[in-house]
Symmetry: C2
Subunit: 141 residues, 2 copies
DNA sequence: CTGTGTGCAAACTCTTTGCATAAGT
DNA sequence: ACTTATGCAAAGAGTTTGCACACAG
């Protein structure tokens, strides 16, 4: 059954949620629509909540937090922590480097493949590398 | 004049502070002593405050925060942000990679020189690289 | 003396949680 | 029906701040 209360709902967000085993509630579809809309994005809970409000999708801030956490735990999003007291969520969930603009605190993806490692450290016995976070901090010359 | 209220005070912390242009107050010397004591360390404000208390150096938590910030701004420490809502301070202030143990949330220096870049991204016009933060996330196999 | 640092407690920001209601399967 | 999600408001953690007092130069 179509949900006429979500004017911009598209098939993809429902499929995206189903694939992850998450119930396609109105709120989750609305947030997924926003997340999937604009290519690779880096946003905070606060930002996404604002966007949802603008899109007339009534979603409480608590639900935005819960939803972002849910999406992250099933691998749809990735958390980025660069500044104290602010978590960014990246719609691109693979292991890739970021630019951090120190002047205004914004984040952007570094060009794909622009960071390559000549060597990585030996890993302690019994451990494995889950990910390698790389943040290139940029400032004005 | 010697300060007999700081049993473990050493010359080095005073010199360390003077070099950075910071007034060598009792509290700052006490904290600097703790920071300089054990090689390369990774600690939070809360941790350092606890150590100060144990060392009978009465320093308020607010002063620990202020002092860590002051030390960081003059380049004596480096901030590491990996988890939301927790800032670690690294007594090694050069640009170097870290291990992050996801299981218990601890941080360690990766062996010196163990991470080398084969390539770094082109930097946008007018910007320069301030630092490259590398965090190798480890988990149990 | 004069300005900077300290301590306390209150304020603040971001995030999480408890519980009643609503919605999905 | 049964389970899971949502919303609200309140709690929580970590950090910052305002202001009076204390100390270093």
């Amino acid at each position: 059954m179509m949900d006429i209360s979500s004017p911009v709902a598209c098939e993809c967000s429902a499929a995206w949620l189903a694939r992850a085993g998450l119930r396609p509630t109105r709120q989750r579809r609305a947030l997924a629509d926003l997340l999937l809309a604009g290519g690779d994005r880096h946003l905070t809970a606060e930002t996404l909540h604002g966007e949802a409000k603008q899109a007339d999708a009534d979603v409480s801030l608590a639900t935005v937090y819960n939803t972002l956490k849910a999406f992250t735990s099933v691998g749809l999003l990735r958390e980025i922590v660069i500044e104290p007291g602010r978590v960014y969520y990246d719609t691109r969930s693979d292991d890739h480097p970021h630019f951090y603009y120190e002047d205004d605190g914004t984040i952007a993806d570094a060009p794909a493949g622009s960071v390559a490692f000549a060597s990585l450290p030996d890993v302690p016995e019994g451990m494995e590398i889950a990910a390698v976070d790389v943040v290139v901090r940029l400032r004005h010359k």
